[in-house]
């Protein structure tokens, strides 16, 4: 067996002080298998050692929260005895190294987190961030990631209904692939991971174990260097067909009373799943690694324990139910093996070829993982930009430029490669403010969105953290759904750098405040740190996945203008905030300035108003105002009409025209209101103490403002044209 030298320790990503702690826990030197187990259990990816202290400050409770962070996914009550289970998770590092498989297995992993709790997955979303479009790798990464997400999700038969895609040079060496799954379960049939019942069999099901993905969790916990692509062997290979069978087999077995506990094998594979189940149940496990179904010959205990082969689950079964369980997995042609028994020793004892190859105390490993209070410095405050210091250009021209810029161009090329309709419940397809998916067999629906504006978070992590939560709240409200809870996926650079740690601390503080004030608790999440290449960090990107509920799916608003001659009503106040805006970046070529502040009490009132108006049927169309500002929002509503309904806007004289058109003031919505409803809408807004003013009329085939006009069909061509043209070059080059 290999000797444990300082080099071996360092190559496992274990710091000298951490090794000292290992010696204390064991009272002896670990062997190589044990060292490998420590390294993955204590990796940043599995232990959250840099972020734990701050994550604890997030609000996680509400009367409708059934299960908050700590399990495989969060669980919320949606009434009628049903629960929605959801989580978002990153697969950033693998996707950069091998985009197709990295993204595909990201989807597979998050699906397992959700169905392991007893839910049938009903929707997938993906928040993607790529480098500068002109970077030589970007096109290849976009093509691979999109194909991988589609390849997995389409086959598994879960609709991919939404998400977001951004481009920025800071992601050149570290793209982000954040995958979210939402599932539906019966409230009284939710499955947890805590092992119970000494002597109960520990069962392995799903795919066989191979040598793939060994040390994936450790890789995800280090910065990239130039030779990172040599880490390709640490990326796993996905098999969506097996995942589909695993979903059906698990759900079939879950309908019986056979399962005591269940946990998917994700990062750190058999190691983290077995340790987590045992630790949560306060028990030990004796495991015979010879019984693990293996794909390759001659695998060592080290390889078996650290493999990240996909599509595998670990379960504890009730005694006497082994045959029933095996019959289900036989039907679905999946491996089923009893690999161990629960003990009361509190220790993980592993045998290979009859010999004990590891004997580790469970709690010290699972619970006593290092927790750091890393030093941090608050980010420097940026100055507020006055609109009169920003170049004013023709609004019609600026609108056309913005709609064709990489961050605002239509994502149709992406979502048309995803089956977004399978399962027959997709009520709002991609392209709106939030996806709306009917709760199968009912008149209810869940609304789902993913949001964050990384340029705001960079400019001011606290405001940016608040804004990410507020925008998710707004997108759900804009379709008429009551926002219920969020999952977060915190993507940052190297936490050992105080300025990066400052971004993490401040963004979490902002998110926490917004979640508290909006009654929008965090029920699950994931942290991805060390997103740096050669010392350059990504924009801080705390992605928020929001879930809301529509009691009556027929009362949902869409963004498309419905008829000519209706009033266009702007909800919320406009000061013309251009700092950190897309206008500033794309038109004026600057990325400076403080980001727009979020007033949470006003955000909440505006959301309540908009939901009320949609539920009462007083709104023909609704769209939140975000990237690009008011004129972009109005243009998107016109384009969504198919291009046959334009808009004529009357800008006020109190705000500079370019700031009114493109300022990114928060807390705003654009409503299309029929004439019969207008007085009622304005009255309702006054009752909610929320600003509402008529800013124009729908009609015509142009968007006109300040004496200038942009034809909607030209805007559609610009907006739809960019991404296919950009990716078309990929095809021509291959």
């Amino acid at each position: 067996m290999s000797r444990i030298t300082p080099e071996v320790i360092a190559s496992h990503g274990i710091k000298p002080d951490e090794y000292k702690k290992i010696l204390e826990i064991l009272g002896r030197e670990p062997n190589i298998t044990e060292l490998g187990i420590f390294s993955v259990m204590w990796s940043e990816h599995c232990s959250y050692k840099s972020s734990k202290k701050w994550l604890k400050t997030l609000p996680t409770k509400a009367p409708w929260v059934i299960c908050g962070p700590g399990e495989n996914a969060g669980v919320i009550d949606i009434g009628d005895g049903q629960a929605v289970i959801f989580k978002m998770e990153s697969h950033n590092h693998p996707s950069f190294i091998e985009p197709y498989q990295g993204a595909a297995t990201g989807v597979g992993g998050i699906l397992r987190d959700v169905f392991t709790m007893g839910a049938r997955p009903i929707a997938n979303l993906n928040a993607l961030r790529f480098g500068d479009p002109s970077h030589p790798k970007t096109r290849h990464l976009v093509a691979g990631v999109v194909a991988g997400i589609g390849g997995y999700g389409n086959c598994v038969g879960v609709p991919t209904v939404g998400g977001e895609t951004n481009f920025h040079a800071s992601y050149n060496g570290n793209i982000l692939v954040n995958a979210m799954t939402v599932g539906l379960a019966d409230k009284d049939r939710i499955f947890y991971s805590a092992a119970a019942g000494v002597g109960n069999p520990v069962v392995y099901v799903g795919s066989k174990t191979g040598r793939d993905g060994i040390h994936g969790a450790t890789m995800a916990s280090a910065e990239f260097s130039e030779d990172s692509e040599e880490k390709r062997p640490t990326v796993q290979v996905g098999d969506p067909f097996t995942e589909k069978l695993l979903i059906e087999a698990c759900l079939e077995l879950m309908a019986t009373d056979a399962i005591v506990a269940i946990q998917d094998m994700g990062a750190a594979g058999l190691t983290s799943s077995s340790f987590e189940m045992a630790s949560k149940g306060g028990l030990g496990i004796d495991m015979d690694l010879d019984a693990v179904p293996m794909r390759e010959q001659g695998m060592s205990a080290y390889e078996i324990m650290l493999s990240e082969s996909q599509e595998r689950m670990l379960m504890v079964i009730k005694p006497g139910r082994e045959d029933l369980a095996k019959a289900v997995f036989d039907k679905w042609e999946l491996d089923f093996a009893i690999v161990g028994r629960l003990t009361d020793s509190g220790r993980m004892v592993l045998r290979r070829h009859g010999e004990v190859v590891a004997d580790l105390p469970i709690d010290p490993l699972a619970l006593a993982s290092p927790e750091y209070d890393r030093p941090w410095v608050p980010p420097a405050k940026r100055s507020v930009i006055d609109a009169k210091d920003v170049e004013a250009v023709c609004p019609a021209e600026a609108l056309k430029t913005l709609l064709a810029c990489p961050d605002l161009a239509s994502r149709r090329w992406i979502w048309q490669q995803y089956d977004h309709m399978v399962m027959g419940d997709t009520v709002q397809r991609p392209g709106g403010d939030a996806a709306v998916v009917r709760v199968h067999g009912s008149g209810k629906a869940v609304a789902i969105t993913t949001d964050v504006t990384p340029r705001y978070v960079l400019a001011d992590p606290y405001e940016g953290g608040r804004q990410a939560v507020a925008e998710a709240y707004r997108n759900l409200s804009a379709v008429g759904a009551l926002p219920l809870a969020v999952t977060d996926n915190l993507n940052f650079g190297n936490p050992e750098k105080p300025e990066i740690m400052g971004q993490i601390v401040e963004a979490i503080r902002g998110m926490g405040q917004a979640c508290r004030e909006l009654d929008f608790p965090v029920v699950s999440g994931n942290v991805s740190l060390y997103n740096e290449t050669q010392g350059t960090a990504i924009l801080p990107t705390p992605t928020i996945g929001g879930v809301g509920l529509l009691d009556d799916v027929s009362r949902s608003a869409t963004i498309a203008f419905k008829e000519a001659g209706s009033a266009i009503v702007l909800i919320g106040e406009t000061k013309g905030w251009l700092g950190a805006s897309l206008y500033l970046r794309e038109i004026a070529g600057r990325e400076d300035g403080a980001p727009p502040p979020v007033a949470l009490h006003r955000e909440r009132r505006a959301g309540e108003l908009v939901r009320q108006l949609i539920t009462d049927g007083q709104v023909l169309a609704c769209h939140d105002v975000s990237d690009g500002g008011l004129l972009v929002a109005v243009a998107e509503m016109a384009m969504a009409s198919g291009g046959h309904i334009g808009a004529a806007l009357d800008a006020p004289s109190t705000v500079a025209l370019h700031a009114w058109c493109f300022g990114e003031d928060q807390g705003r919505y654009v409503l299309e209101v029929g004439h019969g409803d207008l007085a009622g809408v304005l009255e309702e807004a006054a009752e909610h103490d929320t600003s509402a003013r008529v800013i124009g009329r729908t009609g015509g085939h142009v968007i006109s403002v300040g004496g200038r006009a942009a034809p909607v069909d030209e805007l559609i061509a610009a907006n739809e044209g960019w991404l296919p043209a950009y990716m078309g070059e990929e095809m021509a080059g291959h």
Binding site: C155, F241, Q417
Partner: protein, 229 residues
């Protein structure tokens, strides 16, 4: 009407088509597992969409040799109506119940979107509630829907009126621009020569309810119920 939906490992539109059938039939169809070798008394067999056996080989090639397909073929030969949608269409061509093959889409990508189809004939059990020449909107969701057959076969199916649907513009024009996947003659769906077996790439079951954005697909299930009840 008595109907069954065949379920292969990897089928993923089995529930969707069962829901659409139940809405038109008033009762639920039988769900038949791929390893079964017997079918109950039936008027209609549906081979649904999905990725049967993962489709890691040529799409539908494995499913065509599954135990249940022997019985499906025997029933089809005796005149039981068979409807294959998407992967189901691929399985029917691989089984020899329908002529031709479905190749990789011309731009090599999976495509999921609504398309317009021209109904070529309104006098079959599948389409009697449509009019010939009518334009309907169904979604497609496939990577291998590019229909191809040799010249002799094409001549035969065209001559015999076996083309069921063609991709077209909203105005009904059958053009290259309206062809999403490169199919020969814009063919989206075909019948066998007795018009008792229909295979099509688009999914009628996905737009069979106004809440989901349209209900053009519903008339196909209503046609079958009317013809076979």
């Amino acid at each position: 009407m008595k109907a069954a939906v065949i379920v292969f490992p990897g089928s993923n539109c089995d529930r969707d088509v069962a829901v659409a059938l139940a809405a038109s039939m008033g009762t639920k169809p039988h769900m038949v597992w791929h390893r079964d070798t017997q079918l109950p008394d039936l008027d209609l067999i549906v081979v649904p969409g999905g990725f049967s056996y993962g489709d890691y080989l040529r799409c539908g090639a494995m499913a065509a040799h599954s135990p249940i397909m022997r019985e499906v073929k025997a029933r089809a030969e005796r005149g039981t109506r068979v409807l294959g949608i998407c992967n189901g269409f691929q399985i029917l061509t691989e089984s020899g119940l329908l002529p031709g093959v479905l190749m990789r889409n011309k731009d090599l990508k999976f495509i999921c979107r609504d398309v317009c189809l021209r109904v070529e004939s309104g006098d079959t059990d599948f389409c009697r509630k449509y009019a010939a020449g009518e334009v309907v909107r169904f979604p497609i969701a496939h990577a291998e829907g590019n229909y191809f057959a040799d010249a002799e076969t094409v001549k035969a199916i065209e001559g015999n009126g076996q083309v069921a649907f063609r991709y077209c513009s909203p105005a009904g024009e059958v053009s290259v621009a309206a062809n999403p996947n490169g199919s020969l003659g814009n063919i989206a769906g075909i019948y066998n020569d007795e018009k008792t077996v229909l295979g099509l790439m688009p999914h009628p079951e996905r737009l069979a309810e106004d809440l989901l954005g349209g209900s053009d697909g519903k008339a196909m299930f209503e046609s079958l119920v009317e013809a076979l009840s």
